[in-house]
């Protein structure tokens, strides 16, 4: 086990699973340093971490139990929550210094809570993803149309494009929202628990879209996942959070151990690290607090 909160990137990353991780040239990394993140209502910072890195062109999953600060960290990385101290850098530039639309053209966030008017159609929603690319008086251009077409295709919601959100299932809705952030065409995409509450089919659909986006467009992805098994299967890197600080960081096969599951998740489980689809976890029982 590495020391709390401080990691050096190991060599291990090069052997991270099923290969094909070839970050495209213009992939962008997102990095946080010396972060202390809290809410106005809390006195103590909720998250403290010395260094957190989403490597360029890779999928990094944040995992951890409820209340471990993974969503908070993600929000701060997306500049939705100002850290009390520390800096977040997108490709070397401080995100706080970027204009909000400029940032939204480069970094997309799909938050956990969102709302949509009942009569909004999937296609209309996807067009809202073009918001940061359009000036106040600008109308829809060819770029916007192309981006939306591609987003709808990537998210696999062509057959739903004319349907209104009120008539979709939870999983379909989530895919529609993903089409919206895809239309944003950002270099970095952060997703906060995009698979929670979805049925297995739609969970896999969402993860496949994310994977495809990463592989085809070299988009750097940060994703909060509840299901560590899923994270282990789809992510290039895991960041395991415990009590507001990163506990371990690295490729799934190294991070997911029986020790981690008992220390961080308070679960007694056995791990088959040799399983071909990434470390396989068989949980047995919950450990006492």
């Amino acid at each position: 086990m590495r020391e709390n909160g401080q990691f050096e990137r190991g060599e291990a990353e090069s052997e991270s699973g099923e290969a094909s991780t070839e970050p495209s040239i213009d992939a962008v990394e997102l990095q946080g340093e010396e972060l202390e993140i809290g809410y106005p209502t809390t006195t103590e910072p909720v998250v403290e971490c010395e260094r957190v890195l989403l490597p360029a062109g890779e999928v990094t999953a944040l995992v951890g139990p409820n209340g471990s600060g993974k969503s908070t960290l993600l929000k701060a990385m997306a500049n939705q929550l100002a850290p009390e101290s520390g800096a977040i850098r997108l490709d070397g530039q401080q995100v706080q210094s970027l204009d909000s639309k400029e940032l939204a053209r480069r970094l997309g966030l799909l938050s956990q809570e969102h709302d949509s008017p009942a009569s909004l159609t999937v296609e209309e929603l996807a067009y809202h993803g073009r918001y940061p690319h359009r000036g106040f008086f600008e109308s829809v251009g060819d770029d916007d149309r192309r981006a939306v077409e591609r987003a709808i295709e990537l998210a696999g919601v062509e057959h739903l494009r004319g349907k209104s959100m009120a008539n979709l299932s939870g999983g379909q809705k989530q895919l529609a929202w993903i089409a919206m952030v895809l239309a944003q065409e950002t270099d970095v995409l952060l997703l906060d628990e995009p698979t929670t509450y979805l049925d297995l089919h739609h969970q896999l659909r969402v993860m496949e879209v994310v994977r495809k986006l990463n592989r085809e467009d070299g988009v750097t992805v940060g994703i909060v996942l509840h299901d560590i098994g899923q994270a282990a299967r789809f992510a290039d890197n895991l960041i395991a959070m415990k009590d507001g600080a990163p506990y371990d960081w690295g490729p799934p096969r190294e991070v997911v151990t029986e020790e981690l599951l008992s220390d961080v998740f308070r679960v007694d489980a056995s791990v088959d690290a040799e399983s071909p689809t990434g470390p396989h976890i068989a949980p047995h029982r919950a450990l006492d607090e």
Binding site: S100, A104, H114, S119, Y131, S139
Partner: protein, 380 residues
Amino acid sequence: MSTEPVSESESGSGPTATTGRFLDGVDGALVSLCLASVAVVVAGGLVQVSFGSYSMTVWQAWAAVFDPQVLFNLRAWEAFLFGAELPEMNQRSLIVWNIRLPRVFVAVVVGMNLAVSGAIFQAVTRNELASPFILGVSSGAGLLILLTLVVFSGLSALLPLVAALGGAAAFLVVYAIAWKNGTSPVRLVLAGVIVGTVFQSLQTGLFFFADDIGVVQSAIAWTTGSLTGTDWEQVRMALPWTVVAIGLSLLGARQLNVLLLGEQTARSLGMSVEKVRFALSGVAVLAAAASIAVAGIVGFVGLIVPHMVRNVVGSEYRKLIVGCLFAGPALMVAADVGARLGLELLFGASTQVPVGIVTGLVGGPYFLYLMRKQEALGEI
């Protein structure tokens, strides 16, 4: 548009794919709504010009409306819209064009302003019960109206301006109270309730200091909204502000649409939510203030019209606002027919009631009907 097949599969709601091109944004429901509204306005207007204390037959009145000597007379329009000298015209045309019609036009302007203002506030506060007056505008205006009438009666010539300013000032107070590292819809609405309550009490208290019934009646007319005695002067007063407010709200429609996705999403799409919210509220207050200046505080129109329109065209704000521009005047003109002629018809009395009373009487039950019929009513 050239190559890609933009949503041919859907009929009505596809056009936003090409937001920004106005003609593509036209859809059947919206067009029917607008046409129906225009029909109501025209019918209401014709009724309004046909009756009154100067007796003429219905045909004479209608002939006067379409009198080419007025209709195509530039000098007449100059007189109406810019207050120039009125050219010669026969007496019927004068009565119709200078007394009866302006009231219809004021109703149209007021209806537009209130409906658009309500629609904006419903999105900004994300509250389906929001009306133009939710952020304290009516109570601020009401208080200053009472103060002017009762205490500073020397200022009564400036009453329209004072009322509008009072509304705008109350809005700023509400915003200041709600502000704490930014605001939120809930904080805004709560601050609006607080300010509204205090100002309302003060306003009611002031009634005790009014020493004659005329002042009280005038105060009631202002605080419930009335079109009695309005003429071209009021049209001239409200029109410029109305044009500005409506132009800005149409421009802001896309911002409103994005706001409806929730604050988090709006922010992650790069919107400066606080700035946009304040600016849009400002536009809505401007519209509300313009209507208060000419008609006082007409209730209910701004609450119900956006719901009626949303029911028909959905919650896409560009369509919604266009719909409100037509449906608002329809409700207002129809209600004013009742306000002006209702008592005469029912009781033979020649008294007029404030139009705000009629909008409440008509609007309330209609709202109830919508609520019973539509399960989804209220969802923005």
